[in-house]
Amino acid sequence: MSTSTEPARTDEGGLQYRTSPVVQPPDVDGELPVWADPVALLAENESDRSSERRLYLGLLFALTVTALLWGLRLAFG
């Protein structure tokens, strides 16, 4: 760990994490920017994690196209 990085924190499972100092929210009216809102950061992370499940649809699509090709070969080959 570098000398300039804040000490790592440990979660309930005993895993270590790097931490950064708490950010000073900017002086703005209305909604906080995402980087100043830990809840929004976690939501963004969760959204990206969930979107990886689309890979299953991609697999299904690829298998379907390949199966169609196989069918084409059987029909006309």
Binding site: S2, R18, T19, V23, L59, T66
Partner: protein, 479 residues
């Protein structure tokens, strides 16, 4: 004698299946990234980031790049851009002075008095400066033409919350506003080689390469790899990736950070860029010869799976020639056997190609709408026609000399497509230049890459000067 030749020919043809199987094995792993990814170990980590941009004559693109970095949705006091001007002779110093004035204290201009030694030397100039004090906690290495979306940086830094992670890389999209067929082919190549392949490598536990234009390192990792970027090869980003993993850190791929780059619009520029990459890979193959197929050295990089993937790419031209030679030998010995082998074997690469293209396009539906023709034509129009006839032989019913000529051409094309690609590059400098876009699609982007690999091997074994040829960027990225 004929039996021995037949067996050798069958082995030659069989070798052609190896890269197909290696590619297929890799793509089968891609969907596993849905569950085997790094998101469970991320956190809201916003370290002080220095962005290091090497620049030689980049006046046309620097302003946009810096503006987009300054517009990152990231704590402003934790982000600095350091541009190392490699003794530019254009307006780069003036552009940087204007940017430094607009963003005081956040844009730093370092200038080398003597330049032209290559990107790694330029990066090391900035790295030495950045490591000389404690401000920087993470370093983003990028290129002068690479444009980051507003949330890109924090999507990369979140992975560094895990102290095991040494570096994070992103999927760089081809971002030209004036896309043409060649840049669409590059876009598909990036989709396959980055968005698909790096997901698979993450699942398998060994990453081949951090994108040169989007690699975020923790300070610890920079120190662990010696505080310097390797200058002994033309693929410094791949060496950095290997060193990071050999130092015990992991490399993570972040697919959701929006990063765009300008890519070459001419065959010659593409050739020079990819020749540098391919020569770098040949150098690395030799540099890390103690690593291949030796899991005891590193379980990921030394694993059979990673080595198979690596050599499937670097030795692809050799395999194409052996397959072609095998088919031609079989044809000379026993036409019927050659036809049976080709007919039986052809469907496997066709099915593998269709599966990989469909899976790759599904990863980025927005890009897929623009680049699907380039994806289909990736092996080239001629090869595509051969593959279609191989799947549905009844489409082409020839007899006699025409059938013989056609068969010989089909068996030879796997090897001939590489000199054909070389010829297309040469034609670009002649009166035939307007025909080149069509010829590239006929010969294929894939064969073009294989021809470049051959050129890399030839230049490396002849000991040709390993000069750093900069890819010219003119600011075509859509902002």
């Amino acid at each position: 004698m004929n039996d021995v030749l037949t067996v050798l020919a069958l082995i030659g043809v069989g070798l052609g299946a190896l890269p197909v199987l290696a590619g297929l094995a890799q793509f089968v792993l891609v969907p596993a990234h849905a569950v085997r990814n790094h998101y469970d170990r991320t956190g809201p980590y916003l370290p002080r980031v220095a962005v290091l941009v090497p620049a030689w004559n980049e006046a046309a693109v620097l302003t946009t790049t810096i503006e987009r970095l300054m517009a990152q949705e990231y704590p402003p006091d934790r982000l600095r851009v350091v541009v190392v001007d490699d003794a530019s002779t254009d307006d780069t110093p003036a552009v940087l002075a204007a940017c430094a004035q607009r963003f005081p204290g956040r844009v730093v201009h370092l200038r080398r008095d003597v330049g032209g030694q290559g990107k790694a030397h330029t990066l090391n100039h900035g790295l030495a400066e950045l490591l000389s004090d404690d401000w920087m906690e993470a370093l983003l290495i990028t290129d002068a033409d690479v444009v980051f979306g507003p949330s890109a940086l924090r999507k990369l830094t979140r992975h560094l919350a895990d102290p095991q992670v040494g570096a994070v890389t992103a999927y760089i999209r081809e971002g030209s506003r004036d896309q043409q067929m060649l840049t669409r082919s590059i876009a598909f190549d990036y989709l396959a080689a980055q968005a698909a392949s790096r997901r698979a490598q993450q699942v398998a536990g060994a990453m081949a390469c951090l994108a040169g234009g989007a690699q975020l390192h923790s300070r610890d990792n920079l120190l662990a790899i010696g505080g310097r970027i390797d200058t002994s090869s033309l693929a410094e980003d791949t060496v950095t990736t290997f060193r990071t993993q050999l130092a015990g850190h992991t490399v993570v791929f972040e697919p959701h950070a929006d990063v765009f780059a300008e890519e070459p619009a001419s065959v010659d520029a593409l050739w020079r860029q990819r020749l540098r990459w391919a020569r770098g890979n040949v150098q690395i193959t030799r540099m890390y010869r103690h690593l291949w197929f030796r899991p005891s050295v590193h379980p990921g990089l030394g694993g059979v799976g990673f080595a198979s993937f690596w050599f499937a790419i670097t030795l692809m031209p050799v395999v194409m020639v052996t397959t072609s030679a095998g088919l031609l030998t079989l044809f000379a010995l026993d036409r019927q056997l050659a036809g049976d082998v080709f007919g039986a074997a052809a469907f496997i690469p066709v099915a593998a190609f269709v599966f990989m293209v469909a899976l790759t396009l599904s990863l980025d539906p927005q890009a897929a709408r623009r680049i699907w023709p380039a994806a289909l034509l990736f092996p080239g129009g001629i090869s595509l026609a051969v593959l279609v006839v191989a799947v549905v032989p009844s489409l082409l019913d020839l007899t006699g000399a025409a059938a013989t000529a056609c068969t010989l051409f089909v068996y030879s094309w796997l090897a001939l497509c590489m000199p054909a690609a070389w010829a297309v590059r040469r034609l670009e400098a002649t009166w035939a230049q307007p025909l080149v876009p069509v010829l590239v699609q006929l010969v294929g982007f894939g064969p073009l890459m294989c021809a470049i690999t051959v050129d890399a091997f030839v230049k490396e074994f002849r000991g040709a000067a390993a000069t750093w040829e900069k890819t010219e960027k003119v600011g075509r990225v859509l902002v």
